[in-house]
């Protein structure tokens, strides 16, 4: 009887485990938090396994005549269009390359939290002296890995093999370079804009074809778009720190602030523009109801519960990577995309995140790897990889793809001038630190100026240790 009970319990636990793994959604392109990133892991791993085994058998047939150089590549795209695209590109490379290289592509899960994008497994592999030939890294982490001496500088190899990143956007180039050396080959990029609900604009008597351009207008619109139901928020106009507005970078740059002085290699988080931006967020929260508004905002959901998707939030800053989400959860949503409003009219600035291929220290077959990376940056591969999930880092290819698409114009303009997070070896700590500052400021635990000054002091101290 007791054994039966134990067996039943075990079976129940397994069933629960299966259910827990059932839902999957992964986007490795964004740096925004994504709670469900871990849940897609097992499914995605299974997918990769099956695709690579198909590729394996194909390679077996070809490799009968001569010895192939096999290179192992690690990436972080879970299931979805990102994974399909990368597999398609790799298959083509395996079938067509003239260097007799066979690429073994592997999905490696990120650290479970969406907050930290470090690949723990890669760390262990490099430390043990047996790294994969190529690994994909988020560009704001490239400096950390380079400073640790864990990835190879690529300039010589690139030159010998005729690989150049000159055709890339500035943000992609900056994101690949640490202290003058190129450490990563850009793979993709993402970009942020103001999303606004046209129907809600019309209902509030605003022109749906005239989105706000300045911070002043944005605030004015936000108030007009907020509808209270007694003490509760029935509809809100804007939550500045929701989605891609969460990183202080977004508003700091919109207020004309600077986060980093490259010439002196110092962070400038106490820059007047950055302080003003954070102060604006705090003031905005206070006008909207203070603590009540902050608590309401932290309970906002995602996917089908996403307030912008279900029409209870009128404006939000988000990335192009969310377009697919909107299509999935509410295809009828009538929304527009516009440049991120700025303090001064006409000075809109967005920022780009992106991923790049790196060669870990001590990796074998570096020549073959560079040949593969050259292909991945070619038009052939990039046209397969471009989707609304991510842009190409190469100016020319995006323009060919989206040049005539009116709705994407906002991104085509933004990509040209977009900022990129500081290339410092304390990128992750800085990211977490800025999130803490925002959190503390919104909960009234210190003024924006004090908080940013303190963080700036401690971060610069840490940065000095790398000089």
């Amino acid at each position: 009887m007791k054994k039966k009970l134990v067996a039943a319990l075990l079976a129940a636990s397994m069933a629960i485990g299966l259910v827990a793994c059932g839902s999957s959604s992964s986007s490795s392109s964004s740096s925004e938090s994504n709670a469900s990133a871990s849940s897609g892991t097992s499914e995605a791993a299974a997918l990769t396994e099956s695709t690579s085994s198909v590729a394996d058998s194909a390679a077996m047939e070809e490799s009968s005549d001569s010895e192939k150089t096999e290179i192992t590549v690690w990436h972080t795209w879970g299931a979805g269009p990102g994974l399909d695209a990368i597999n398609e590109a790799v298959e083509e490379y395996n079938a067509t390359n003239d260097k007799n290289v066979y690429v073994n592509i592997n999905y490696i899960a990120n650290q479970a939290s969406g907050n930290t994008q470090t690949m723990d497994k890669l760390m262990a592999a490099v430390a043990s002296g047996n790294p994969p030939e190529v690994a994909l890294l988020d560009n704001f982490q490239v400096a950390s890995w380079a400073a640790q001496g864990a990835i190879e500088p690529l300039d010589d190899l690139m030159q010998q093999n005729g690989l150049s990143i000159e055709g890339c956007y500035d943000w992609a180039k900056t994101g690949s370079i640490y202290k003058g050396d190129t450490y990563s080959i850009p793979y993709n990029g993402d970009c942020r804009a103001l999303f606004y609900n046209k129907d809600l604009f019309t209902a509030a008597g605003l022109d749906p074809d005239d989105p706000p351009e300045t911070i002043e207008e944005l605030e004015d619109y936000a108030k007009k778009l907020t509808i209270m139901d007694g003490d509760n928020y029935k509809q809100t106009g804007l939550v500045p720190w929701y989605k891609a507005g969460k990183p202080i970078y977004t508003w700091g740059w919109a207020f004309g602030g600077n986060f980093y002085d490259e010439s002196t290699n110092t962070l400038t988080l106490d820059d007047p523009g950055v302080v003003e931006a954070l102060q604006w967020e705090v003031d905005f929260a206070n006008e909207m109801g203070g603590e009540k508004f902050v608590n309401y905002a932290s309970g906002l959901g995602s996917d089908a519960e996403d307030p912008f998707v279900n029409g209870t939030l009128a404006m939000v800053i988000r990335g192009q990577f969310d377009i697919a989400n909107m299509k999935e959860y509410n295809p009828d949503l009538n929304y527009g995309m516009a440049p991120i409003p700025s303090k001064e009219a006409g000075k809109s600035v967005s920022w780009c995140g992106g991923w790049g291929w790196t060669i870990p220290k001590g990796a074998k077959n570096q020549e073959a790897s560079i040949d593969f990376l050259k292909f991945m940056l070619s038009k052939d591969a990039q046209t397969k990889l471009i989707s609304t999930n991510s842009f190409s880092p190469v100016v020319e290819f995006n323009e060919e793809m989206y040049g005539n698409d009116e709705t994407m114009k906002v991104y085509m303009d933004a990509l040209e001038t977009a900022q990129v997070r500081p290339q410092v070896p304390v990128g992750q700590e800085l990211w977490d630190g800025l999130n803490t500052v925002l959190d503390s400021a919104l909960h009234g635990e210190g003024t924006p100026e004090d908080l940013l000054t303190d963080l700036n002091t401690s971060m610069n101290e840490k940065l000095q240790e790398y000089n």
């Binding site: 009887m1 009970l5 039943a8 319990l9 075990l10 129940a12 636990s13 629960i16 485990g17 259910v19 827990a20 938090s33 709670a35 871990s38 849940s39 650290q111 479970a112 939290s113 969406g114 907050n115 930290t116 470090t118 723990d120 760390m123 262990a124 490099v126 430390a127 950390s144 890995w145 640790q148 001496g149 864990a150 003490d231 603590e291 902050v294 608590n295 309401y296 932290s298 309970g299 906002l300 959901g301 519960e305 304390v426 992750q428 700590e429 977490d432 999130n435 803490t436 959190d439 503390s440 909960h443 635990e445």
Partner: protein, 302 residues
């Protein structure tokens, strides 16, 4: 002469038995030394270096420890962890005993009730965290809806630093099935003779619980106290999954091991994290020793 031979012979058997025993346990011992002993000892060394996993680092003496004492988040994470343990451990022990007493009653279908209370412990912690995130959501959460029926205005469970740790205590109390099972075993171990004797002397139910059950359950309570304390001081998965590793709001859910993990694998400061690990070890050791010392005063064995 003969006796001596027998002795030697016996000694030989003992020695052989010991040798065989050692050989059979060797795989385990080797594993323990390589995978536990070595990392444990080397982490002492690493705590004095700037080791980053990717880089061996330099020997920097007590710098990591000094830096820790000036790290406000380090102190905050200790305060959070102790606060949580001080709330969670007693609540879990008391509710664990109460529920075990209820589940010890001889009624029909008691097995079903026991199963119901044990099931939450089988749910993976990450799934638990996800479900509770919805239940405790301040805007559309189930719990606030239920409270709303009684006219209680919405509580910002996980949104406000004042409530977040209490929320975590509630979630942690959901998984006390393990303790209940141990308590049940302890309850069934208490000889019925004591109860019979007490009944003859005219003791009622409450008296029996206070004067027989609780005192004789103290060895089990002692075990649950020690294990509960060690586990709660090392709490990681639940708050990490609940807050995406951020410990928000305002680091009210940044617990000691979470901060240790972020330092080691997020910021590549393994030396710093090793120093943190040893400080935690000393804290746990000290608290456990205090409990052990005090146990002679309150733990009764049958």
């Amino acid at each position: 002469m003969k006796e001596k031979q027998i002795k030697e012979y016996k000694g030989g058997i003992e020695a052989r038995k010991a040798r065989m025993g050692l050989i059979f346990t060797l795989p385990w011992i080797v594993g323990l030394i390589i995978f536990y002993g070595y990392p444990l000892v080397s982490s002492i060394y690493y705590s004095f270096t700037s080791y980053s996993i990717l880089n061996a680092g330099k020997f920097i003496g007590f710098k990591n420890y000094k830096d820790l004492f000036h790290d406000s988040l380090f102190w905050k994470s200790i305060a959070n962890t102790l606060y949580f343990s001080a709330l969670s451990v007693p609540i879990n022990i008391i509710s664990g005993i109460l529920i075990a007493l209820l589940l010890n009653v001889k009624i029909k279908g008691i097995g079903i009730f026991r199963t119901i209370f044990f099931i939450p412990t089988l749910v993976p912690v990450v799934a638990t965290a996800t479900v509770w995130k919805w239940i405790l959501n301040s805007n559309y959460g189930l719990l606030n809806d239920i409270l709303g029926i009684f006219g209680i205005s919405p509580i910002p469970w996980l949104a406000d630093a004042k409530w977040s740790k209490i929320s975590l205590v509630i979630i942690a109390a959901w998984g006390i099935g393990q303790q209940i099972v141990i308590n049940l075993a302890g309850l069934q171990d208490i000889s019925t003779e004591y109860y019979e004797a007490a009944s003859i002397d005219g003791a009622n139910g409450i008296n029996k619980i206070i004067h027989i059950t609780i005192p004789l359950l103290t060895p089990v309570i002692f075990y649950n106290l020690v294990m509960g304390l060690i586990n709660s001081l090392q709490i990681f998965t639940l708050p990490y999954a609940l807050t995406n590793g951020e410990g928000s709001p305002v680091h009210s859910l940044t617990f000691y091991v979470m901060y240790l993990y972020n330092n080691a694998f997020g910021y590549m400061k393994m030396g710093y994290a090793s120093a943190m690990a040893w400080i935690l070890f000393v804290i746990i050791l000290a608290l456990t020793m205090i409990i052990f010392k005090s146990s002679t005063k309150w733990v009764n064995y049958q």
